[in-house]
């Protein structure tokens, strides 16, 4: 267990206010980091994200994160991508065919559809696809999604959801995990998922009562 706060990457493409509210409700400490030197020395790193793949990639490059994240992960540092943050972990996206992804999770992010409304916006149910030690069977929990692109289900997929076709809702590989839904926007089931993922990654909530020692 790490006693360092969770590092939230602040790069102008994430909804940090909601995420911070969710972490506070869970009693988890965090700090914003615009550049890698502002990151906590250990503990989970969260890569949030809304917007365009290429714009986000550019912003992460400018702030020095793009080069650093793969080496941090290689050292065993846990990393959680949320929404576009998950997509950036993949090898690339149809949204920006000339921009590569971080390549920390295999696969190319593909556009949803045809035959369904895009963006996929709203609450959808998720189901287990592969087991994972941190994430229990969701039993059809409703989670909130806003996205136009998604990874296809693979051996790294823990939960899937459907929009026209099944897509990866949660991906995991080693210490890297990605959520396509917004757990901070998904009511109580979302908060519980966020808590499960982050505590598996080593985040610790402050002890409720300090024992005498």
């Amino acid at each position: 267990m790490s006693s360092d706060p969770i590092t939230l990457i602040d790069y102008d493409a994430g909804n940090l206010a909601s995420l911070e509210g969710a972490l506070e409700r869970l009693g988890l400490s965090y700090q914003r980091a615009a550049t890698p030197d502002q990151a906590a020395p250990s503990g989970p790193i969260v890569l949030p994200g809304v917007g365009h793949f290429e714009a986000a990639q550019k912003s992460l490059r400018e702030r020095g994160w793009w080069r650093v994240l793969p080496s941090l992960v290689a050292e065993g540092r846990p990393l959680l991508g949320i929404c576009l943050g998950l997509q950036l972990l993949a090898e690339g996206s149809e949204e920006a065919p000339r921009a590569s992804g971080l390549g920390l999770i295999p696969g190319i992010v593909r556009r949803l559809g045809p035959g369904v409304k895009v963006p996929h916006m709203g609450w959808s149910q998720v189901r287990q696809y592969n087991p994972h030690p941190a994430l229990p069977d969701p039993h059809g929990a409703w989670l909130y999604f806003v996205h136009s692109y998604a990874l296809e289900p693979s051996v790294e997929t823990i939960y899937v959801a459907d929009h026209g076709r099944p897509f990866a809702a949660i991906q995991a590989r080693g210490t890297v995990m990605g959520f396509q839904p917004h757990p901070e926007k998904s009511g109580r089931p979302g908060l519980l998922l966020l808590q499960a993922a982050l505590s598996w990654m080593g985040a610790s909530a402050p002890a409720p009562e300090a024992p005498c020692n």
Binding site: S18, G51, M121, G122, K185
Partner: protein, 250 residues
Amino acid sequence: MPAKRIIPCLDVKQGRVVKGVQFKDLRDLGHPVDLARRYDAEGADELVFLDIAASLENRGTRESWVRGVAHELSIPFTVGGGVSRVEDARSLLRAGADKVAVNTAAALRPALVTELADAFGRQCVVAAVDVKRDLDLGWRVFLKGGSEPTNRSALDWLWELNDLGAGEILLTSMDRDGTGDGFDVQLLDLASQLPIPLIASGGAGLEIHFLEALEHGADAVLAATLFHEGILPIPRLKAYLAQNDFSVRI
């Protein structure tokens, strides 16, 4: 297909949620954060806040309650009112709003919609459109909170908004708004042909009206008074829609 969404709409004036008839006789309903908490607990799927007196002077007030709402709410929310530049939207999104709604400013300068979609992604851009039936134009677009008629056909404008980059349409029938007579289902039949999600607004009075709106293609339904006054509790509405085979988050 995602669940059909139930969306309470809150009018905000100078940092307080208000309720009135056509912006007159405004009654104070409370602080946005308190109402946000209440609707989150009741099972609303999303909230829409419309700042009905948005002006340069109250931008600071607005950012502070938007930040408060983002902190407390565990469901998504949209903020609209006076968004006419990319910077207006950026400050709302940075404060924690999930989406911004544009209306009059987009009609006056349609490129705004594209600028917002390019800057933040189209999922952030809700195009609000107020319409009224008209013998010549079918449905006609009105601006400035419904006070100013235009010569624009609503259906043409909806398709244009889609092409410009809107991620979702919030369509209010002014003929039905406040009547409790039900949504304008003919309008919904046509508007739901758009390839982006459609939020139906204006006219909800009974449970069955919500069912009708969904049967006529709406992806989400929005109402204010019914929910604020506790006339139709959201859990009861959702149970009713579920009994009628619509997928709702319960």
